[in-house]
């Protein structure tokens, strides 16, 4: 028993022994006094410096005083002629990074070393001096640095060149004068000198496109030998190609031959750099890709993990845009699934999932199953996401993919991993109708043994929507009711809501649901009991009056129409009184996008787990209060929408004016926010004269001028128009600011009695269709779309003409319609050729509108768009199409 202990102690001692054992900063600083000895002992001094460096390297810090003291002591060591000690002194000075007035102390010593006959002194002195020096000293040593750049000793030349690269960040004008010497160094026979010289030369010229292009042209003819310099040149070349791509769309790509020739270089780092450069070319063709893919394929079977990783990582990126180009490597990649390095294996699998065809899916899934058990969660999530997109690509293969997902769902895993699986299953159920029944059963099985409340509630909510629509809804009830027995209060409450949804939708189940709900009335938790009571009443389980079907559906399935943030703000402002809280008074406009809306589909916040609010929406309230305080406008009714301020003047003018458009059912109010930026004048009787001759449907009904507008205190003037009810009248208005100017005495601040009438031309203002649409999101677009029905659906196709990319087209349409993008569909993945975007909003008159946009872009960058609209009103659907057609 004693023996192992003794042995262990031995081991510990062995492992823990260190020459620095028990080292302490204070003691070492004391020791540093040996630097001041008149008879220097180089060994002892080296030893002390090593200790100091050890402390710094372990993260110890010196106070300002300590550092200064050590610095001064160290400078004494320049007296010694010991080379080793001198080297340590250089290191120490760099670590201490002395301040300007301290630098002066060592400058002369370092300059002496710079001109020494010993190359090591010269190289290191240059590096140290350039590291610690500032601009003023640089001009003194510039001459030496220029000489050093072309020194025949490569170490000295490299030291000067690398120092030049560092100095360029702070003192570019000095380094730029070395251009000739640097150019000479580029031709050096020493590999590293060439590399450093090329890096510096490019940085000197980087803002001169023509010079860079010339540099690349001359060097690609083949005077660069160093592999590192070759890599640099490839990077510069692809930059030049990128910048010149636009003017040679059809012809041969410039410098492509050079890149291709680099694929045959003997250094692997150059081959990789060139292959990567080719795959990243803008609009690369499959013919250009082929040679690069071929060399990467060879790398895949290398014995070096780094090489395999680099190759598969590049191929993975290529597969995102050109999956077909990578299929040749499929066999090599399949053998990488068993790679020791898990990063390589994961990259191989996700690449295969992108390149695989329908027939290989089953085989692939078998291989992945073995693989999943021994990788970390972070890799598993990547694989799950790849499988999700594969399934959407090959819907016929849903069976094996769904099986795979359900199998991994049963295995151990953390929350993020499980969530990724659940999200994937939910998306598959939504998008592949055949997968619904099996998918729902997998989810049911999962919640039987789920430790994550968030996931349970999410699944229960989803079951409530999808379950009743299946062929045999009753089989889900057991799973749901089990939750009421076995889970915590949050999950129980969710389960009650889900059962109620089944009861509402499936008439035959209703009596049984009532029985189950009545049992919940005895639950220990308030929320659960409340919900059970509420649903029993709504569904008529208490024999009380049954609500109409429509109301009931709206109540159970309708989504919350107001953003949660706004609801929270309104509830906070609500003061208990006889008047009950009216949900219709909550503003519907989304001001700051709540977190809930940003989440990907299938991640709806479950009841009781709402996303935290992100900033209250107060601007709408403020406008409403402001407008209702003005007597002329009080009869206009409820404010429908206020636009964002539109600037009517340019920045920096005497008077700055912006306008906010307030839309009411039958009126439009323009609120002009004016600011007087001249201290010497006071404006009085400020009003805006609006010419509405280009807006026929509008007629001016009221105007409220601003009595006085002193310097730098903004004021508002209003103009109101009447418009036909329910018509989305649009038009252009020209504006003139009219006022009386009075000079102000700068000393007293008093205005003169008499003023002069004056005008100031403002820019035109337009009321557009988007002003009549409120941005209102829906949490589940698909549900909303289906429940809206196809009665008033209008579909048409439009050509949007040439666009830079799809993102631009999507944003243009979103801005034109002024609707809320749903489920994150406003984001277009880069390089995609097609995209779908979902929008929702409320049209004036409180008509809900949903829009589905499908975009496609062709080789000539022409964008085509299919627009499908559903709304509660035929005319509104038509109106949306009109907006797009005329926009």
């Amino acid at each position: 028993m004693a023996q192992p202990f003794v042995k262990k102690d031995d081991d510990d001692e062995e492992a823990e022994y260190s020459p620095f054992l028990g080292i302490e900063k204070g003691a070492v600083l004391q020791e540093a006094r040996v630097f001041n000895d008149p008879q220097l002992d180089p060994r002892r001094c080296s030893q002390v410096i090593t200790k100091l460096l050890y402390l710094l390297n372990q993260g110890e810090t010196f106070t300002k005083v300590e550092a200064t003291e050590v610095f001064f002591a160290v400078t004494k060591l320049f007296q010694s002629r010991d080379i080793g000690l001198r080297r340590m002194v250089y290191l120490m000075i760099k670590e201490l990074s002395p301040c300007a007035d301290e630098v002066i102390i060592v400058t002369s010593s370092l300059m002496k070393d710079m001109n020494s006959k010993t190359d090591m002194y010269r190289a290191n002195a240059i590096r140290v001096l350039c590291r610690i020096t500032d601009g003023t000293l640089l001009t003194q040593i510039e001459r030496y640095l220029k000489q050093a750049i072309v020194d025949k000793n490569p170490v000295v030349a490299s030291a000067a060149l690398v120092s030049g690269i560092h100095i360029l960040q702070t003192n570019p004008e000095i380094v730029k004068r070395w251009s000739n010497e640097v150019q000479e160094a580029v031709q050096s026979r020493a590999a590293l000198v060439q590399f450093h010289a090329l890096a510096l030369l490019h940085q000197i010229r980087q803002n001169d496109r023509l010079a860079v292009s010339k540099l690349v042209t001359s060097l690609t003819r083949g005077s660069v030998r160093s592999p590192l310099a070759q890599c640099l040149l490839i990077r510069y070349t692809s930059q030049v190609i990128h910048e010149s791509a636009s003017n040679s769309q059809t012809g041969e790509r410039p410098f492509f031959d050079y890149l291709e020739s680099c694929l045959r270089h003997k250094a692997e780092m150059v081959i990789l750099e060139a292959a990567r450069a080719i795959t990243e070319l803008n609009g690369v063709t499959s013919r250009e890709l082929t040679p690069a893919i071929t060399v990467l394929q060879l790398f895949l079977s290398s014995s070096k993990p780094v090489l395999r990783f680099a190759a598969i990582r590049t191929l993975n990126k290529v597969a995102m845009t050109h999956p077909m180009a990578v299929t040749n490597c499929n066999i090599d990649m399949e053998s990488l699934i068993s790679d020791q390095n898990r990063s390589i294996a994961t990259l191989a699998i996700t690449t295969l999932l992108k390149t695989g065809n329908e027939s290989s899916v089953d085989r692939l899934m078998k291989q992945i199953t073995n693989f999943m058990s021994d990788i970390a969660d972070e890799f598993k999530i990547v694989v799950v996401e790849a499988i999700r997109s594969l399934c959407l690509k090959f819907p016929l293969k849903y069976r094996s993919l769904m099986n795979f997902l359900s199998n991994i769902l049963r295995e151990e895993g953390g929350f993020e991993y499980k969530k990724a699986i659940i999200d994937s299953i939910v998306i598959l159920i939504r998008d592949i109708p055949e997968a619904k029944e099996s998918g729902l059963l997998h989810l049911c099985e999962f919640i039987e043994d789920c430790e994550f409340t968030y996931l349970s509630t999410q699944i229960l909510h989803f079951l409530g929507i999808e379950g009743p629509k299946t062929s045999d809804p009753s089989k889900y009830i057991r799973y749901i009711y089990n939750r009421v027995h076995l889970e915590n209060a949050t999950v129980r409450a969710s389960a009650v809501s889900t059962m109620a949804k089944f009861g509402a939708k499936v008439e035959s189940l209703k009596p049984r649901i009532f029985v189950l709900l009545r049992r919940c009335l005895l639950d220990s938790d308030d929320e659960v009991r409340d919900r059970a009571t509420l649903y029993l009443n709504t569904l008529g389980g208490h024999g009380s009056e049954v609500e109409t079907d429509e109301n009931m559906n709206e109540f159970l399935f309708g989504s919350l129409e107001v953003p949660l943030v706004n609801l929270e703000t309104s509830l906070k402002n609500y003061e208990p009184s006889d008047e009950s809280f009216d949900i219709n008074s909550v503003p519907k406009e989304i001001k700051s996008q709540p977190l809930a809306e940003k989440k990907a589909p299938g991640k709806k916040p479950a009841t009781g787990l709402a996303a935290p609010p992100s900033g209250p929406a107060t601007t709408v309230d403020a406008y409403e209060r402001l407008l209702s305080s003005i007597a002329e406008f009080s009869s206009f009714g409820k404010l429908f929408k206020s636009s964002a301020p539109v600037e009517l003047t340019e920045a920096g003018t005497e008077y700055t004016v912006n306008v906010v458009k307030h839309i009411f059912d039958r009126h439009v109010v323009f609120q002009y926010n004016c600011t007087n930026t001249i201290p010497e004048v006071l404006l009085e009787n400020v009003a805006v004269i609006v010419d509405s001759s280009d807006a026929e449907e509008f007629s001016e009904v009221a105007s409220k001028p601003l009595p006085s507008l002193p310097y730098d205190s903004p004021g508002q003037t209003f103009v109101a128009f009447e418009k036909p009810d329910g018509v989305t009248a649009i038009g252009k208005f020209s504006n003139i600011l009219k006022f009386i100017v009075k000079e102000v005495d700068p000393s007293t601040g008093e205005a003169e009695e008499d003023g002069v009438e004056d005008e100031y031309q403002l820019e035109d203002l337009e009321v557009v269709a988007a002003d009549y649409i409120l941005k209102v999101g829906v949490s589940n677009f698909r549900n909303a779309w289906e429940s809206m029905g196809a009665d008033y659906e209008r579909v048409d196709e439009y050509g949007l003409g040439p666009r830079e990319n799809l993102t631009e087209a999507v944003n243009a349409v979103i801005n034109l319609l002024g609707m809320q993008p749903c489920e994150g569909t406003e984001v277009v993945p880069s390089n995609s050729r097609s995209h779908s975007c979902l929008l929702s909003g409320v049209y004036i008159g409180n008509v809900k509108v949903l829009v589905r946009l499908s975009f496609g872009i062709d080789g000539q960058r022409d964008v085509a768009m299919k627009l499908a609209v559903r709304s509660e009103d035929e005319s509104v659907s038509d109106a949306i199409h009109e907006i797009v057609a005329s926009g």
Partner: protein, 177 residues
């Protein structure tokens, strides 16, 4: 855009993940605790892998980390997400082999700490402020060793191993004093 290949840090850890020597060339890890946290993450993520015959590679905190274990020391070189992996691997190889030469094949924590001055000089010769200075292990070790001998005969008259032998003797003596 950063076009010049750059190294974010070079780490030398012992077999328990403690820092033997480390040099950071960028501001991604501003404090010592941030550095230690990164070193811990790197060490735990890599310790179970076999990086002895060939250098291995991993993505850690959106950085490319190449690493190699020699005897009881762990060598790491970190670069940005888009850095050419093979350039980093070349730096790593230069570092490993140079240290191996300087420690005369005894690549362990004790030997490294006893010759810490050589290790630090070695780091100083490999990377300067993130820019690769030299990658050839013989040249690196030669530069470090040449600076540790007494300014006797010129380096050309000594072979590197002779220089190393002298250097080592010299330093062991000085540290044991």
């Amino acid at each position: 855009m950063e076009l010049c290949p750059s190294v974010k840090n070079v780490l030398l850890l012992d077999s328990e993940g403690n820092r033997v020597a480390a040099k950071y060339y960028c501001d991604d890890w501003p404090t010592n605790s941030a550095k230690e946290a990164f070193e811990k993450a790197v060490f735990t993520k890599t310790q179970k892998t076999n990086a002895r015959t060939e250098a291995e590679i991993a993505m850690i905190e959106n950085n490319v980390v190449v690493y190699k274990f020699v005897q009881s020391l762990h060598f790491f070189v970190t670069g940005g997400e888009d850095e050419n992996e093979l350039i980093l691997a070349t730096v790593l190889q230069g570092f490993c082999d140079a240290v191996g030469l300087l420690l005369r094949g005894h690549v362990d924590r004790r030997e490294a700490l006893e010759n810490l001055d050589l290790i630090l000089m070695c780091l100083d010769e490999i990377v300067d402020g993130g820019i690769i200075l030299e990658t050839d292990p013989n040249v690196i070790a030669g530069k470090v060793a040449s600076q540790s001998v007494d300014a006797g005969g010129p380096l050309s008259e000594q072979t590197i191993s002779q220089a190393l032998a002298t250097a080592r003797e010299h330093l062991t003596r000085s540290l044991l004093n």
